[in-house]
């Protein structure tokens, strides 16, 4: 085992590829949304009040019982008065937000319907990057000096140390 492996085997945040990624994801999202409302996951999406994906109310996320623990731990966290689920888990810019909502809304409904997801739930690398960017976006002033000097430079991972800010007594990494 490499003793000095990075804590995360993920590549650093990719350099921005706005046009390609944006269109690709949008197209995907449209297809997904279409399939979703037409297909079998429509049941779950409405049962789980999938529409809650377009809400900022944290209780909406907890419509799914698998999200209950995450909700409970958020309630006990330092951030429950200052940040809701979407503040951390969805991109802060407008389009990004709705694409991610469609993306995650689809996958959560899918996973919930078929109950074939890995438990305990582990945040996916792409969603972890969203969280990281959201920490930085609220706390830029505080962490200004820690930010990379160049656009390509890596950030230190905030949750390497602050794993519990959003979910108290949460798992360590």
């Amino acid at each position: 085992m490499d003793p000095v492996k990075p804590p995360d085997e993920d590549p650093p945040p990719a350099p921005v590829r706005p046009a390609f990624f944006g269109i690709g994801a949008l197209a995907l999202a449209v297809t997904i949304l279409a399939g979703m409302f037409a297909g079998m996951s429509a049941f779950t999406f409405s049962y789980g009040e999938g529409i809650s994906y377009f809400s900022t109310d944290p209780a909406a996320c907890a419509n799914c019982h698998v999200m209950q623990g995450h909700f409970d731990s958020w309630v006990k966290s330092s951030h429950h008065t200052v940040a809701t689920c979407v503040d951390c888990h969805l991109p802060h810019d407008f389009t990004g937000k709705y694409i991610a909502k469609a993306d995650n809304g689809f996958f959560h409904s899918w996973a919930f319907t078929f109950q074939n997801f890995h438990e305990p739930i582990r945040i996916k690398p792409r969603n972890e990057r969203i969280v990281q960017l959201n920490c930085v976006s609220c706390h830029t002033d505080m962490v200004h000096e820690l930010l990379p000097a160049t656009v390509r430079g890596e950030s230190v991972s905030c949750i390497h140390c602050h794993a519990q800010v959003g979910h108290a007594e949460w798992r360590r990494r």
Binding site: M1, D2, P3, V4, K5, P6, P7, D8, P12, P13, A14, P15, V16, P18, F21, G22, A25, P91, D93, T95, G96, I99, A100, R129, I130, L133, V136, S137, T140, D141, M142, V143, H144, E145, L146, L147, P148, A149, T150, V151, R152, G153, E154, S155, V156, S157, H160, C161, H162, A163, Q164, E169, R172, R173
Partner: protein, 450 residues
């Protein structure tokens, strides 16, 4: 959609700094917060096993068996507790190891802001200069001057040794580390590793320290500072490397065996622990962030994390400070008890070899016993000279000491087998070879420790 990779705006630069700016005060104009904490490495405060004192404790008096373990070697003259970075240059100047034994310029690699000297001697080529300075006698190297007669070595490790003056990014400057880590990576199958190009930012938060906090030896002849990692960085891998070279640091003053000296293998031991596996870096614990106004900065007051548990440990471990301290002490107490056990075993082995010799055993008869002494001594030294008293890798430290005990006791048995009539008797004070007896040595620069 847009995922902005945030980058910080350039700092406000009041004075220019460049590769030759070794004076931290100049950098301090631009980065006063970091500089202020950096200066505090002059402070002292003890912990149960670490931290530091106003006057560095003489370890040879605290652990008298060290004189037997290192008999015949410079370390048996003077070996003290380390203290803050501010003292690294002066402490090297003042040690009896430098006063009483000839030392090479190689020593300066880790005790000073040495890069301008390397560049100067190598006419711009760091490797060249590194070779030249390493081979010089210490006193000459310490006072090497530029073309205008200005001394080139003036400061302990300073900003420029860890930071790129253009971007402030972390970097590695020490040639021995660059070569060492590339050799180690090559051993793992990674070709052509360039640490400043290939390491992640989190890795750099360890490598910046591993430039110096590692085991080393001076290559025979050239005196080039070398990190013995060509076969790996575990204790037995380093030993295998030395064995293959046929290398010894010194000839033991009592038994005449060729021995290995371990020095501060913090990086190597850390690498075998759970924290390393979890990606926790040296800087995470030894340079925790601290809040200064609306800003947070890395605490450049590098020191024992046990003096700052709230910031060093509690961000990750959501438990009370006393409990974290108790966990650390629990680990250290156990390690220390095993160090005591190992040293008793090693001293018994050395005494037995000496006694066997007195009953007429020849060098040939004692080959096996002495080989076992070497194994035991290397392992005990590795844990003892590592400065966390086992904390950086608790199970690994205990494992290494268990092996030390086994080899030492087997050495004792081997000596007794050669000289069967041997009874265990107290050995007369070791007849230390090649080291000035204490009473003839010049007074130490420090007052006698309590």
């Amino acid at each position: 959609f847009h995922r902005k990779t945030e980058a910080r705006n350039p700092y406000v630069i009041f004075v220019e700094v460049d590769e030759d700016t070794t004076d931290p005060a100049v950098w301090g104009v631009n980065w006063p917060r970091q500089y202020d904490s950096y200066k505090r490495t002059v402070d002292y405060e003890r912990t149960r096993y670490g931290g530091s004192d106003a006057v560095p404790i003489q370890k040879l008096d605290k652990d008298t068996w060290l004189r037997t373990m290192w008999a015949g070697y410079a370390f048996s003259i003077d070996y003290r507790e380390a203290r803050g970075h501010a003292y690294m240059l002066i402490d090297q100047e003042e040690t009896e190891r430098v006063h009483q034994r000839p030392q090479p310029g190689a020593c300066l690699h880790c005790h000073s802001s040495v890069m301008p000297a390397y560049r100067h001697l190598g006419n711009g080529d760091v490797m060249e200069g590194f070779k030249k300075l390493s081979a010089m006698p210490w006193a000459e190297a310490r006072h090497v001057k530029d073309d205008h007669g200005h001394p080139l070595i003036n400061h302990p490790a300073s900003c420029v040794d860890c930071h790129d003056p253009k971007t402030m990014a972390l970097r590695v400057t020490r040639p021995a580390f660059k070569i060492g880590i590339a050799t180690y990576k090559a051993h793992q199958g990674v070709k052509d590793y360039d640490v400043n190009r290939d390491a992640t930012r989190q890795e750099m938060r360890t490598f910046a320290c591993a430039q110096c906090h590692v085991e080393y030896y001076f290559a025979p002849g050239t005196k080039l500072v070398t990190y013995p990692w060509a076969e790996g960085i575990k204790v037995e891998e380093i030993e295998a490397y030395y064995d293959r070279l046929g290398y010894s640091d010194w000839t033991h003053g009592v038994t005449g065996g060729g021995m290995l000296k371990a020095q501060h293998p913090e990086f190597e031991l850390w690498s075998q622990g759970t924290h390393a596996r979890a990606g926790v870096s040296c800087a995470d614990c030894h340079m925790p962030y601290k809040r200064e106004g609306a800003m947070k900065v890395s605490d450049h007051h590098v020191r024992s994390p046990l003096l700052n548990i709230a910031r060093s440990c509690q961000v990750c471990h959501n438990v009370p400070e006393e409990e974290l301290l108790a966990r650390a002490h629990n680990i250290q107490d156990k390690t220390r008890a095993l160090v005591d056990r190992s040293s008793a075993a090693l001293v018994a082995a050395i005494e037995s070899i000496e006694a066997a010799r007195k009953t007429g055993a020849s060098d040939d008869d004692l080959v096996a016993a002495i080989a076992l002494q070497r194994r035991a001594q290397w392992r005990l030294d590795f844990v003892y000279s590592e400065n966390s008293v086992g904390f950086h890798a608790p199970q690994e430290s205990a494992r290494i000491l268990a092996e030390a005990i086994d080899f030492a006791r087997q050495g004792e048995i081997a000596a007794r087998t050669v000289a069967p009539s041997l009874d265990r008797q107290p050995l007369p004070p070791p007849d230390v070879q090649g080291v000035t007896p204490a009473e003839q040595a010049p007074p130490s620069p420090y007052p006698q420790p309590r």
